[in-house]
């Protein structure tokens, strides 16, 4: 138990990194995922094909492989540098991997939401002369996004846990920090594990409650 109390600042620092990874890659994948969904429902076969290819490739590749590709492939071989600071650099490289992967799932969720919007909505929008992009932006997406708040919440929840995969390229987030503390305090493995597990419960539980409440509050009445 003392080990957990003594190392509390280190543990909190690791979770702060987890939170940063989650928030930054969550925002990027939300934007990119909605853009991909727009591509996948567009009238242009070129865009539909490109979107479908992206989603199917990324969704069926293990996240660890994607992160390793970003860290070693882009980072080391291709020499993509975001910062001179090594740990900051792998932080951004893992953000690329996490966002690229998560956005494929965001796209599929948003597309499922678009399919729940009744036909009449888009027909009415076209009848008053809105273009495809206007229809999407002003009529369809606001309703679609509201119906998929709960699934998006689950995605965010999964993203919190997925950030631990960044450990594969040495980002010192919660899981890798926990391993280091195991090495340092061989006698306190169970308290340390329980401490980190509690940290993840603290991060994910409010997310679940919040997304459930938001989903109910913003539900579109039909």
């Amino acid at each position: 138990m003392e080990a957990v109390v003594d190392e509390l600042p280190v543990i909190l620092g690791a979770f702060w990194l987890t939170v940063k990874l989650t928030v930054v890659s969550g925002l990027i994948s939300l934007v990119w995922g909605i853009a991909l969904a727009a591509m996948r429902v567009s009238p242009l076969p070129v865009l539909r094909g490109a979107g479908a290819l992206y989603v199917n490739v990324l969704r069926n590749t293990p996240l660890t492989l994607i992160i390793v590709f970003c860290g070693l492939g882009l980072g080391t071989v291709m020499d993509v540098q975001f910062s001179d600071n090594l740990s900051l650099n792998s932080f951004w490289l893992s953000i690329i991997g996490l966002s690229a992967y998560t956005s494929a799932f965001v796209c599929e969720v948003v597309r499922a939401g678009i399919n729940t919007v009744p036909l009449g909505q888009a027909e009415a929008a076209r009848a008053i002369g809105l273009t495809f992009l206007q229809t999407l932006r002003l009529v369809i997406l606001p309703q679609a996004v509201r119906t998929v708040i709960a699934p998006l919440g689950s995605l965010l929840n999964a993203l919190v846990k997925n950030t631990t995969v960044a450990a594969a390229i040495g980002v010192m987030e919660a899981a890798l920090r926990m391993k280091n503390l195991f090495d340092a305090h061989g006698d306190a493995i169970i308290p340390i594990f329980l401490g980190f597990a509690a940290g993840f419960v603290v991060l994910t539980l409010p997310l679940n409650l919040l997304s459930g409440r938001l989903a109910r509050r913003l539900a579109v009445v039909r």
Partner: protein
């Protein structure tokens, strides 16, 4: 789905729209090609398309000596973890529906706790906690442990939702003809629930297969390890090697994905089942299909 989604958003194009769509197709096609060209030249600058780096994949011994053993290890770990996770899921899913509070509540705590913890942390914990208890924990054991308890917990939720999706009348009819609790579960509820759960279970198994790649972090000799450590160590071709390995993963997962879709169509058609496959799908659902 796509067709309906598409027609929601636009009409059958008239002559003017067709012209504009053609122009836009050309424009976006050019943009996409430019993006592809940019990526191609960037990789080319670093000599990544050099035949020397790709040539090892045309030789049989690269596959038989380096890649296929990794693939085999991945499949073995996935298969064992899948069987154990299915057992874990069945036991805890049914335990959560128990009439006895002292069974129901601990089962719920276990399932909820393991679902909240990332698989990688469970793998690390198996390694260190196991050796604390005096056990020899190989990378294989640690990976299988992590995958089993995490996916088992998700499967437990799928099982529970699948059983709850069988209409109540089925169980009531069973009791009315004098069956016992475990007979009702075994003879009436489970057979119907399993058919309804099948698509959700298969999608969860895809997740499990993908997650075996986490073994890379603890140096388990799996497919990703072969592609990102072993082959590049021999030929210094990390990027080609990772791309080839990714294609193998994608092929396996797509095949499993088609299996899930086929099972879903089949259980939709089947008249013997009263439960709704969609209900079970949603339980493991959103979380399941990401991880």
């Amino acid at each position: 789905m796509t067709e309906r989604g598409a027609t929601v958003l636009y009409d059958v194009p008239g002559p003017r729209t067709r012209l504009r769509n053609n122009a836009l197709t050309l424009a976006f096609g050019v943009v996409l090609l430019l993006v592809a060209f940019f990526v191609w030249t960037k990789f080319d600058e670093k000599g990544q398309w050099d035949g020397k780096l790709w040539q090892p994949f045309l030789r049989a011994d690269t596959w038989t000596e380096l890649i296929l053993p990794g693939l085999l290890n991945t499949l073995v770990a996935a298969a064992l973890a899948a069987v154990l996770a299915l057992l874990f899921g069945a036991v805890f899913g049914i335990a959560r529906l128990s009439d006895h509070r002292w069974v129901r509540i601990p089962a719920a705590v276990v399932v909820e706790a393991f679902r909240a913890v990332p698989v990688l942390m469970l793998i690390f914990f198996a390694q260190y906690g196991g050796s604390l208890a005096g056990l020899v924990v190989t990378e294989f054991t640690a990976v299988v442990f992590g995958l089993t308890v995490y996916n088992g917990s998700v499967l437990a939720e799928i099982v529970r939702a699948g059983i709850l999706a069988v209409p109540r009348g089925q169980a009531e009819a069973g009791y009315a003809i004098g069956l016992r609790k475990n007979q009702v579960m075994r003879v009436i509820l489970l057979p119907q629930a399993v058919t309804a759960m099948m698509p959700a279970i298969v999608s969860q198994l895809v997740v499990l297969l993908k997650d075996t790649a986490l073994g890379f972090v603890v140096a388990y000799a799996d497919l990703l390890n072969a592609g990102a450590r072993v082959v590049p160590a021999n030929y210094a071709n990390l990027i080609p090697s990772v791309i080839v390995i990714a294609v193998v993963y994608i092929a396996i997962n797509l095949a499993l994905g088609y299996l899930a879709a086929w099972l879903e169509r089949r259980s939709r058609r089947s008249r013997k089942v009263t439960a709704d496959p969609a209900a079970a799908e949603q339980a493991g659902g959103e979380v399941a299909f990401v991880r």
